[in-house]
């Protein structure tokens, strides 16, 4: 503030100036302090510089003024104007060089000061304009504040009014409610009054009626009569009967009969409806079971407990189905069972459907978010690629055309063309050479492979021979067994197949206890493994052998196989796993025949049998 004032009003009183100087000093930052001082001191200096010089030095006071100047200058830190004296008594000489230097320095300082002054002035101006701006901003904000304050007050006022109105409305509502209550009371009282009056009137009216009745009816009104030619017969052809107690009783009976009939009819209808609904329920249940059972299998196999319940459930249902007559007998006994099971199934179905829904929604989301977009991107990329290709092709065509034209143009130039051709040929030759070497390498590889294959084939042949030998020996043994222990063997098979229904390990223990089983299982083992082999090798006579052995086994087990319950779809799967395991076992003919393989083989066997059955 002070700064600004000094600039605009240089002619202010010195008191004011010093005051402003003081204030500005306190407010200013230290960096601007120096310039401030300079400014303040320079203003009076520049003003009366001329008059000062004219008065300062005259011819007679040169010495004094020089000394004065020297003093002044030394106090300001300039070097002395006098030459340094060696002795004390000697008069000091004026050093011209020093004077000139001092002057120069002073001039420089003056110039510097002027520059600084200018700078400060511009800064001052700038700051002044800033100030202006800030002031306008300030006033504007003040105005804004004022308006918002006014607005707030207005809103508060409105709020107050609305509250007032609300209160009034509440009051009105209350009044209205009261009014309604009052009116209702009035209505009620009027109604009672009206009813009372009505009753009174009616009584009077009844009295009058009674009187009229007496008057009219007891007057022996001759006119009240029926003039009829002859009486006609009753519609039902019967004669009218006298009124007695009997007829009354009969009427009652008939009434109840009618009511009973009605109720019976309704009951029948309800029964029919019930039966229909039951049928629907039953069908629903059946369908639900059939719908759920294949799906259940997968998750249930993991959890053994639940499989048991499901199977029992299915069995239970089957039992229920068989005694359908119960359904018709009474609802009570079966109702709970039915509703419970339906509820259970329904819950399963619901959860399943929900799961499916979730999956579907997930898939949808994914599909929409990823697949679709990606496919679109792909599509775009593809189109871009194709366009590029088209462009390239076009370019190529163009270049070819150009080349052709060139060729046509330069057809006469035979030498160059022949040279070019030669160049091409050389290149091609080199390429061919490379390819040739590659081919050779490949051929080598192939030969190596062929060698290894043949070796493997020889090995296989050997193995097969060994197999055949062993089989022959086994067949012999079995033949002997069949003849000697025929009865025993068939029993074993029966026992064995009885267990085939379940995939438990019990079978394993049973078989391991039967030594006779061993050859049997081996015989089964070889054909299956052979059948596996036949897939990779050409047909061998062993397959026919397999057929024979199989038929022989089937003779034993066919009866039992037929008894297989529909549940052994699962064992089939287990069997499938086991055959995979057994493959490794059978490929090593020398190794011992595991009971494991025997067991699994029966599964496959039974499976095969089943397939053969119609």
């Amino acid at each position: 503030m002070g700064d600004w004032m000094t600039v605009t009003d240089p002619g202010l009183s010195s008191e004011n100036k010093t005051l402003s100087q003081h204030t500005s000093e306190t407010k200013m930052s230290p960096s601007s302090l120096y310039s401030q001082q300079v400014l303040c001191s320079s203003i009076p200096l520049s003003k009366n510089v001329h008059s000062f010089f004219s008065a300062f030095c005259t011819e007679d006071n040169i010495e004094q003024s020089i000394s004065y100047l020297d003093q002044e200058l030394t106090t300001f830190g300039f070097p002395s104007l006098y030459e340094e004296s060696k002795g004390k008594e000697t008069k000091r000489e004026l050093n011209i060089i020093a004077v000139l230097n001092c002057m120069n320095e002073l001039l420089v300082l003056q110039r510097k000061n002027l520059l600084a002054q200018e700078n400060v002035e511009t800064q001052n101006l700038k700051l002044g304009s800033d100030m202006d701006h800030l002031q306008s901003c300030y006033s504007k904000l003040k105005e804004q504040l004022e308006t918002s304050r006014r607005e707030m007050i207005g809103l508060q006022e409105r709020d107050r009014q609305l509250q007032c109105k609300n209160r009034n409305l509440h009051q009105l509502l209350k009044n209205e409610k009261d009014e309604v209550q009052k009116l209702q009371n009035i209505i009620a009282s009027r109604a009672t009054q009206y009813n009372h009056d009505m009753k009174r009137k009616e009584r009077e009216y009844n009295k009058l009626k009674e009187r009229l009745h007496q008057l009219v009816m007891n007057k022996k009104d001759k006119k009240i009569a029926m003039d009829i030619l002859n009486y006609v017969g009753r519609a039902d052809g019967k004669r009218g009967s006298w009124r007695t107690g009997k007829t009354e009783a009969r009427n009652e009976d008939e009434m109840y009969k009618i009511l009973l009939n009605d109720y019976e009819y309704r009951q029948k209808q309800i029964l029919m409806e019930n039966a229909e609904l039951k049928k629907v329920l039953q069908q629903m249940k059946k369908e639900m079971i059939s719908l759920l059972s294949p799906q259940k299998k997968k998750p249930r196999e993991r959890v053994d407990d639940s499989t048991g319940t499901v199977i029992s459930d299915v069995e239970e249902d089957a039992g229920e189905l068989s005694r359908e007559s119960i359904w018709d007998l009474s609802c009570e006994t079966v109702r709970e069972q039915l509703t419970n099971s339906i509820r259970k199934q329904w819950r399963i179905l619901k959860s399943h459907v929900e799961k499916l829904d979730n999956q579907v929604s997930k898939v949808h989301l994914e599909g929409f978010n990823d697949e679709d977009v990606i496919s679109r991107q792909d599509h775009e990329q593809e189109t871009e690629k194709l366009e590029l290709e088209i462009q390239q092709c076009k370019e190529m065509i163009k270049t070819q055309q150009q080349l052709l034209q060139q060729q046509l143009a330069t057809a006469c130039d035979d030498d160059t063309t022949s040279l070019l051709r030669d160049c091409y040929l050389l290149e091609e030759k080199e390429r061919l050479k490379e390819e040739w070497s590659l081919f050779k390498e490949q051929k080598k590889n192939f030969e190596r492979e062929r060698r290894s294959f043949t070796e493997a084939a020889i090995r296989l042949g050997l193995e097969r021979k060994a197999f055949e030998e062993e089989r022959a020996s086994w067949l012999k043994q079995q033949f002997l067994n069949m003849t000697t222990f025929d009865h025993q063997n068939s029993e074993n098979v029966k026992l064995f197949s009885a267990f085939s229904g379940s995939s438990d390990q019990d079978n394993l223990t049973v078989h391991s206890r039967q030594p006779q089983k061993k050859p049997h299982s081996t015989s089964n083992g070889s054909p299956v493994c052979m059948s596996k082999l036949t897939k990779s090798l050409p047909a061998s006579p062993s397959t026919s052998d397999f057929c024979q052995t199989r038929s022989c086994v089937s003779e034993h087990s066919s009866v039992n196989v037929l008894n297989i319950t529909p549940e052994d779809i699962k064992p089939n799967q287990v069997g499938g796993e086991c055959t995979n395991q057994k493959w490794s076992v059978a490929s090593r003919p020398g190794s011992q025949e595991g009971c494991y393989s025997g067991c699994s083989l029966t599964y496959t066997n039974s499976h095969v049998e089943k397939d053969d059955l119609p």
Partner: protein, 460 residues
């Protein structure tokens, strides 16, 4: 559709016999009985005064003609024209007369509802029933004709008596929990009796044949209540129309409301077909006089033609503003009728007098709305199929079936204002009644349509 020639009629008294063979009509004091097929006069009876009421006996053998002014009832036999019977109520007066279901008894209600006299045509015996209630529908017979229910009023309380019609013995007598009983109606199966209270209070009570209260239903309080009641032919539903413009359907198992049908003046559901009758005034411009040529056989040119247009929803129906400070305001559902197969219900809301609502009872929703140009006077269902005949007091008759709508001009001299109509038993024809005339309208059976088509093709 063919029309018979026009016959004279008075007092809108024209009725088909219950067996469908004859048609009885009245002209002043003469009763004319015609054969339905030939329309030849079979019998002609002359009564003592102008006939005010006729009714066929259930076996179609007798017709009663009531002359209320004189307190007289005359009965005629169709088989024996010379047979006659005259019942004189004398100074007691007569306000109503009806047959008992056996066709051998006549129930006469005396003036001021002092008593009901039961006259027998078989014996000399006369029975009296005292204290009948003066109300809209005070007597009702079961369909099988075994029982009669009668509303009574004693000591400012309502009672219902159930009589056995064969010997007029009182079977049950019980008081009803009503302020002022207005109507009673048997269910078609004859086992449930609906009893409803005065319009001041919404209350409907259901009683078993043996007098037990099965259920009571009240939809609301403090406002005008029931205006009309109808049983479905299957006895499964009871439709109750009320002054609030709604129909409530009660079921026969729990006697609770299944649904309520509102009758809004604006229809927004695009599923509902709104048939709007549109007037097509004949163009009388000079160029149009000769073309199209007037139809031959259609009689004089009708003043205007009308046809149905299917209005596009939303539709707002014409409503009357009821005068609320008068008794019996024109609001609420005043007409209700179930189709014979119970599949449809036709209603009329009295403050939307031009419209007939048809409801689908199977789906319990509005099915179609017909908006006529003038207020609907009457409607009646074909007894054989879901087909509704409507009249509005104009010279047209309107037919609705689920397949569509039809507006038919009644041909004839002058204007034949159809005030009422009644179907023949077979549904092949119906009688259209105006103030002074009636004619029969024969609906084309399929065979008839076939022949007509053949004729048409032969002509062209």
């Amino acid at each position: 559709m063919n029309f018979s020639e026009v016959f004279k009629l008075s007092g809108l008294l024209c009725k088909f016999s219950p067996d469908g063979k004859y048609l009885a009509s009245c002209v002043q004091y003469r009763l004319v009985v015609r054969d339905v097929n030939t329309l030849q006069i079979v019998q002609l009876y002359t009564c003592l005064d102008q006939i005010q009421h006729i009714e066929w006996s259930a076996d179609s053998l007798f017709i009663l003609c009531a002359m209320y002014k004189r307190g007289l009832v005359q009965v005629w036999s169709l088989e024996q024209p010379e047979w006659h019977c005259k019942i004189d109520e004398g100074s007691a007066g007569l306000v109503a007369s009806c047959w008992s279901p056996d066709g051998r008894h006549i129930l006469n209600t005396t003036e001021f509802h002092l008593r009901i006299t039961v006259w027998s045509l078989c014996t000399k015996s006369v029975s009296y029933i005292k204290y009948p209630k003066a109300c809209l529908q005070g007597t009702t017979f079961t369909r099988d004709g075994r029982y009669m229910a009668l509303a009574e009023r004693r000591d400012c309380k309502d009672y219902v008596s159930i009589f056995v019609c064969s010997d007029w013995q009182l079977l049950r007598h019980f008081d009803t929990d009503t302020q002022d009983l207005t109507g009673i109606e048997w269910a078609p199966n004859g086992c449930v009796l609906a009893v409803w209270d005065t319009c001041l209070e919404y209350k409907i009570l259901l009683y078993s044949l043996d007098g037990r209260l099965l259920s009571a239903y009240s939809a609301y309080e403090w406002s005008l209540g029931i205006k009309s009641v109808a049983w479905s032919p299957s006895s499964q539903f009871l439709a109750v129309g009320s002054y609030d413009g709604k129909v409530r359907i009660l079921n026969h198992v729990t006697w609770k409301m299944i649904t309520e049908f509102e009758h809004p003046a604006a229809i927004n559901n695009p599923k509902i077909v709104v048939y709007k009758e549109a007037e097509k005034s004949p163009q009388l411009g000079l160029g149009c006089l000769s073309f199209p040529p007037p139809r031959a056989g259609a009689g004089p040119l009708p003043t205007s033609e009308s046809k149905y247009e299917i209005a596009s929803v939303p539709v707002s129906l014409q409503t009357l503003k009821p005068v609320t400070d008068r008794a019996n305001p024109k609001i609420g559902v005043g007409m209700l009728a179930f189709s014979p197969d119970s599949y449809f219900l036709a209603t009329r809301n009295d403050n939307v007098p031009n419209a007939v609502w048809v409801w689908d009872i199977q789906k319990l929703r509005l099915f179609a709305v017909l908006e006529q140009l003038s207020p609907v006077r009457a409607f009646q269902w074909d007894p054989q199929q879901p087909r509704l005949a409507i009249c509005t007091g104009g010279s047209r008759v309107y037919l609705w079936s689920p397949a569509g709508c039809l507006s038919v001009q009644v041909p004839g001299e002058g204007d034949f204002a159809v005030l009422s109509l009644c179907w023949h038993l077979s549904g092949d024809s119906m009688a259209l009644l105006s103030k002074d005339h009636f004619c029969l309208c024969f609906l084309e059976t399929e065979a008839a349509v076939g022949t007509a088509c053949r004729q048409l093709s032969g002509h062209t």
